[in-house]
């Protein structure tokens, strides 16, 4: 009898447990793990990167024999591997950036840094470069040899050529084993003579982004300004192959932000915390991020300074020219002004100790189209 009671109680308890468990499972909240498939009409082709690439002047060149074409990456307009004896190698890259990328001195010093040579002063620049004329224009050529063996265990050499165009700068660089690069110098200079540019093919040349090679998808190509467009933008040494990446996740020393993929990080100056080229069919804009201690004269003074830059009369209250925006607990003041085809879209972030400026300058049409993206970008600005 006792045994019967015991087992009955056990059955009872177990049943309760099973009931609870079964009910629980029945009521399980559906975690969304279901894969769905559907067909949608194509969205209109993305503007921006594709058209920007299509609108760029197309480069043509003839590579010397022995240069093996490489797939390269999104930033490069051309990439070659030059192989020598005993496994010696050199890499040839062709890269372009909008603007003057900080000027000749900054660019030469950037290359000097890559072969661990100390920077030179402006006065020494004429001695460090030679000018080579070619069908494409005048190239500034530098030949830099590392003083000590570098990572590869042997001295490295850079043969670099800079070609400045009104709206963009082209960089042709051979870097590798010092002996091999020296042996290739004649070939490199001969290669520069083959460089030519076609007229921009125009946005109509590309129907949609799928027509671009995969690696170039979504990535601004080379020169994104029309050839007659005034140069905009500046650059910071060391940007190098960073440009043309799919996204720029920037971390300033203090504030942080995330820039859209199609904004190319450019180099800035020592003053800049961040610098981007914003390109579109309308041209290229320059986005600078700077920070200064204090309130820099106050919001009204800054707003009127920007209005002055555009040739607009000053306003008497900030509210006439700027709107507040809240982002991640930060109070931003967004200024938007345009005149004579040029526009400034900027934000002031006033903080207790310093003031940050996010300023986009460029053609009116470009800035107007970029405004939603710029405001989205501002919303990514965070204080640590």
């Amino acid at each position: 009898m006792d045994r019967f009671i015991c087992s009955s109680t056990l059955v009872h308890r177990r049943s309760r447990f099973i009931i609870l468990l079964a009910t629980g499972l029945l009521l399980a909240g559906c975690r969304d793990t279901k894969i769905t498939a559907y067909r949608v009409p194509k969205e209109p082709a993305a503007s921006g990167p594709a058209t920007a690439a299509a609108g760029a002047a197309a480069i043509q060149y003839q590579a010397p024999p022995g240069w093996q074409e490489q797939p390269g990456d999104a930033a490069r307009q051309g990439s070659f591997l030059v192989a020598g004896a005993d496994g010696a190698k050199a890499d040839v890259s062709i890269i372009t950036f909008p603007g003057d990328v900080g000027g000749d001195l900054a660019n030469v010093n950037r290359w000097r840094n890559q072969v661990q040579l100390p920077p030179i002063a402006d006065a020494d620049l004429p001695k460090a470069v030679s000018e080579v004329d070619g069908p494409a224009g005048a190239f500034l050529v530098v030949d830099l040899l590392s003083e000590a063996p570098l990572a590869a265990g042997h001295p490295e050499r850079i043969l670099g050529a800079i070609l400045k165009q009104p709206a963009q700068t082209w960089f042709f660089k051979m870097m590798g084993d010092a002996a091999l690069v020296e042996a290739q110098k004649a070939a490199f200079l001969g290669f520069l003579q083959t460089v030519q540019f076609n007229a921009p093919s125009g946005p109509a040349g590309i129907a949609n982004t799928n027509d671009l090679p995969p690696d170039a998808r979504g990535l601004p190509g080379g020169g994104t300004l029309p050839p007659d467009h005034p140069a905009i933008g500046a650059a910071m040494p060391g940007a190098g192959d960073m440009a043309g990446t799919a996204v720029a996740v920037a971390t300033g020393r203090d504030l942080t932000w995330t820039a859209p993929a199609d904004w190319k990080p450019t180099a800035g100056s020592a003053m800049r915390k961040g610098s981007y080229a914003v390109s579109g069919p309308e041209g290229t804009g320059d986005l600078s991020i700077t920070a200064f201690p204090g309130d820099v004269g106050g919001n009204l003074a800054n707003v009127n300074r920007w209005r002055g830059q555009l040739g607009l009369p000053p306003v008497s209250t900030v509210g006439e020219a700027a709107q507040p925006l809240e982002a991640n607990g930060l109070h931003l003041l967004v200024f938007d002004g345009a005149n004579n085809g040029q526009a400034i879209l900027a934000a002031i972030v006033s903080r207790p100790d310093d003031t940050w400026f996010f300023k986009l300058t460029g053609p009116d049409a470009l800035v107007a189209r970029t405004k939603p993206a710029f405001l989205d970008f501002l919303r990514t600005v965070k204080a640590p």
């Binding site: 009910t23 909240g29 769905t36 498939a37 194509k42 998808r217 192959d241 799919a246 996204v247 939603p372």
Partner: protein, 388 residues
């Protein structure tokens, strides 16, 4: 079997269970309210209420164990308890019709909450003037879109929700000619350029943008003004072997393309899209302020509503507190980005009417029940007061 049924009935009809469940729900609401400080409203909803169990990690491990019954569990049991009590304990009689009605309302309310939790979809639609959209984007959920873009007129999309990605398993669907294996999944992440992180481990990705970046896992944020940026490494394997490994991230705003078996494919981790069978085109966004001030007076969006078959093609004005309801979707004027871009909140909740019905039923039930009692009381008083 009969014994089992009796156990079942006894258990679920007991008032003790009701009291325990109500006490547990009180406790759940209390703890969840406190935890809002850490997690914010949405995450608390998911963790405490839209879950079977409240899970917690064993310190020092990644193992999560249930520590408390969740909202679905308590609510579900309450529902069963209530229904079972009515079936087995309560008698259907006029005197108790009010209680029946009120309880029916309560049952409906519980069901409504369950349906809302399971079926409600909420997203944002961002519209520039002249832009037409037929989908809203979730602000909280992400999906990996694997898109066959070969056909020039349409895209075949396979959308894999983050819930499937984070299991780190191999996913296979007849819609894809390859399998997809998640090698790593970070619910929140940052990407840094590889040349800025020289000591980083080699990237598992060998295709697309991945090799250029180092993905850094970040703590998940629950703050309402912050956003998580999920990143995953996915490996694609076809019949002939491995195709490649890609880094996908919501930080990458452009899709990555590859070709396989003559088809062009795109990979993109993006905000989950909720498509609707009609399109909305923004004609004009207006942002009015009170004269002489910056104080917003009204936001409104004049939109064009169109169905693909052309049967519906009309203009609608959406403004604050005056949403557009169409086809089971509700479009609220949620915000704006400048004086041009309108942001509409798009909500689809097939069970939105249930709370109204259930509250009406409860109210009606209570009125009837108290009315019956009141009448009985008045009769009793009248009878007592009547001269013998």
């Amino acid at each position: 079997m009969r014994a089992f049924l009796k156990v079942f009935v006894d258990y679920f009809t007991s008032l003790r269970l009701t009291v325990i469940l109500l006490a547990l729900s009180l406790l759940l609401v209390f703890i969840a309210t406190l935890d809002q400080v850490n997690l914010g409203v949405w995450a608390v909803q998911q963790k405490y209420f839209h879950s079977l169990f409240v899970m917690a990690r064993i310190p020092g491990t990644a193992v999560a164990v249930p520590v408390f019954p969740g909202g679905y569990f308590i609510g579900g049991l309450l529902l069963i308890n209530l229904i079972a009590a009515h079936l087995y304990r309560f008698r259907l009689e006029w005197r108790k019709s009010g209680i029946w009605l009120a309880h029916a309302g309560l049952i409906l309310l519980l069901l409504g909450e369950l349906f809302t939790g399971l079926l409600q979809r909420e997203g944002m639609m961002r519209l520039d003037p002249g832009t037409a959209r037929d989908y809203a984007e979730s602000t909280l959920k992400t999906e990996l879109a694997v898109i066959d873009t070969t056909n020039p007129s349409y895209d075949d999309v396979v959308a894999i929700p983050e819930g499937a990605l984070e299991k780190l398993s191999t996913l296979q669907t007849p819609k894809l000619p390859f399998t997809l294996r998640t090698l790593a999944y970070y619910p929140n992440s940052a990407l840094v350029m590889r040349n800025q992180a020289p000591n980083a481990a080699p990237s598992p990705a060998d295709r697309g943008f991945g090799p250029q970046f180092v993905a850094l896992a970040q703590p998940v944020t629950y703050k309402e003004d912050e956003q998580n940026f999920p990143t995953a490494f996915v490996e694609l394997n076809g019949a002939e072997g491995r195709i490649g490994t890609w880094l996908v991230s919501t930080l990458l705003t452009e899709p990555q393309t590859f070709t396989y078996q003559g088809h062009t494919w795109e990979l993109m981790l993006r905000a989950t899209r909720y498509y609707q069978p009609f399109s909305i085109t923004l004609l004009k966004f207006s942002h009015d302020v009170y004269p002489g001030t910056d104080i917003p007076k009204n936001f409104s969006s004049r939109v064009r509503l169109q169905t693909p078959d052309g049967r519906v093609d009309r203009e609608v004005l959406i403004y604050m507190n005056n949403p557009l309801r169409y086809g089971g979707f509700t479009f609220y004027q949620a915000g704006y980005q400048n004086d041009r871009t309108s942001i509409l909140q798009v909500v689809r909740n097939p069970s939105w009417v249930i709370p109204y019905v259930s509250c009406s039923l409860i109210a009606l039930g209570l009125v009837i029940q108290f009315g019956i009692h009141l009448l009985g009381f008045i009769r009793k008083r009248a009878a007592a007061a009547a001269p013998a």
